[in-house]
Symmetry: C2
Subunit: 230 residues, 2 copies
C-alpha cells in the first residue's frame, strides 16, 4: 500500500483520462516530476500509450487540484510549495482537524473507534522501533478514520484535498523517531478524548497536534524548500 492512496478518486479510474490523472498525480507526489518541470502532452501520452485528448483533460483536473499550473499556449508546469505555503497549510489544517475531531467525537461508530485504538496501539510499537514507513501509513490512516467519522462530506473532502500537500511536504522534511513517538502519544490522547466523549478536548488536542507537527519542523530547521515566493 502506497502512502498516498487515501486521496479520494474524483475521476473515473477506468477511463484513459482517469488512469492518466491518477498516474500523473502519483508521479508528481512521488517526486518523479520535479517542481517547475514542464509536462508535455505528447510525451506523457506516448509514455502511457494514449493520445493527447485524455492527457489534456487530466491536466485540467490536475491544475484545479493544485498539482500543476497551466500557462496558456505554453505548457503545464509542476507547482512548487513554498515555506509560506507550508505554514499556511498547517495553520488551516490545525483548525480544520480540530473541527473534525470535535465532530468525530459525536459521530464516530464503534468500529471506527476500535480501528482508531488499534491504530494507536500498533503505531506505538512501530514508533518505538523507528519504523518510519509504517508510521507514515498509520498516521495517514489515523487521520483518514477521523475524516470519515466526522460525518461531514464537505469537511472530509476538504481535509482529503490537503493530503496531497502533506505528502509533498513530507518529501521536503525529515521526520525523526522522537517526533514519531511524540506524535503517537498525541494520537493516543486524541483517541482517548474521543472515547471519553469529550469534544472540546478532542478539538483542542487535534489542533495542538497540528501545531506541534509544524513547530517540530520549524524548530529542527528541516525545511528543504528552494522555490522562492512569486
Amino acid at each position: 500500500m502506497s502512502s498516498y492512496d487515501l486521496k479520494k478518486e474524483v475521476t473515473d479510474k477506468y477511463s484513459l483520462r482517469g488512469r492518466v490523472f491518477n498516474r500523473l498525480r502519483e508521479d508528481i507526489l512521488s517526486g518523479k516530476y520535479k517542481e517547475n518541470e514542464e509536462l508535455k502532452e505528447v510525451a506523457i501520452g506516448e509514455e502511457l500509450g494514449v493520445s493527447r485528448t485524455p492527457v489534456r483533460e487530466a491536466f485540467r483536473q490536475l491544475e484545479l487540484e493544485g498539482l500543476i499550473q497551466i500557462v496558456p499556449n505554453k505548457g503545464a508546469y509542476v507547482t512548487g510549495i513554498t515555506a509560506k505555503d507550508v505554514k499556511d497549510i498547517y495553520m488551516i489544517r490545525s483548525s480544520l482537524e480540530g473541527m473534525c475531531a470535535r465532530l468525530a467525537t459525536e459521530n464516530i461508530t464503534l468500529e471506527q473507534l476500535e480501528e482508531l485504538e488499534e491504530n494507536v496501539y500498533l503505531a506505538s510499537f512501530h514508533a518505538s522501533k523507528g519504523h518510519m514507513e509504517q508510521m507514515t501509513e498509520l498516521d495517514n490512516r489515523f487521520h483518514h478514520i477521523l475524516y470519515e467519522a466526522c460525518n461531514s462530506k464537505m469537511l472530509e473532502n476538504l481535509l482529503q484535498d490537503f493530503h496531497q500537500y502533506v505528502i509533498r511536504i513530507r518529501k521536503k522534511t525529515l521526520s525523526t523517531k522522537e517526533r514519531g513517538i511524540a506524535s503517537n502519544e498525541e494520537h493516543r490522547q486524541i483517541m482517548e478524548a474521543i472515547k471519553a466523549k469529550n469534544p472540546q478536548e478532542a478539538e483542542r488536542l487535534a489542533t495542538l497536534h497540528m501545531n506541534n507537527a509544524y513547530d517540530n519542523m520549524v524548530k529542527n530547521g528541516l525545511y528543504d524548500i528552494y522555490k522562492k515566493e512569486d
Copy 2:
C-alpha cells in the same frame, strides 16, 4: 457588475475552454441550469458555437469545482446542495473567516482598510433603504477585501472556492432588510477591530458573523432545499 465575478479565474479567460468554463459556471450559479439537470456536450457546444473538445475540458474543471458531477459514459449533472451541506459550509467558513480576519488585522494595507471603511459606510445606507442587490455586492466585496488582506494565498483561494456555494445558497434562501442591517453592523464591528489592530477580537467577530448569518437562516426557516441526501 454581477454578484459572482469575485471568483478567481483559474482558467485562461480568452481560450474557448475558459469562456465555456466561465459561462457554464455563471449559468449554473445564476440558476439557468437547475440542480440535477443533465448537461450535454453537443448542446452546450452548439449554444456557445464551439466544438465538444473545449466543452469537455471545461466539464472536467467544473467537476473539481464541485458544480457538476460527471458519471462515466453517462453524462454531466448539476450538483445539488443539501441542508446538511449548507450547515457544514457555514461551520467551515466561520472558522476560516475568523482566521482570515485575524491575519488581515496584521497584514491589511491602508488602502484596503480605507476601502473596507467606505464599504461599511456605503452598505449602511443601502441597508437602511433595503437595497438588497447592492447589499449583496457590498457583502461580497467586504469579504473579498479581507481575503486579499490576510496575506495567505492558500486561505484566500480556499475562501474564494467557497464563494460559489454562497451564491447558490443565497438563491435558496431569503434575506431580509433586518438581517441586512444586522449584517452591516457586524461588518462595522469587524472593521473597527481590524482598525484597532485587535486580531483576537476581529477573529471572534468574524466567526460570530458567520454563525449569525447561519442562525438567521435557520431561525427564519428560509430553506428551500429539495434535494435529498444521497
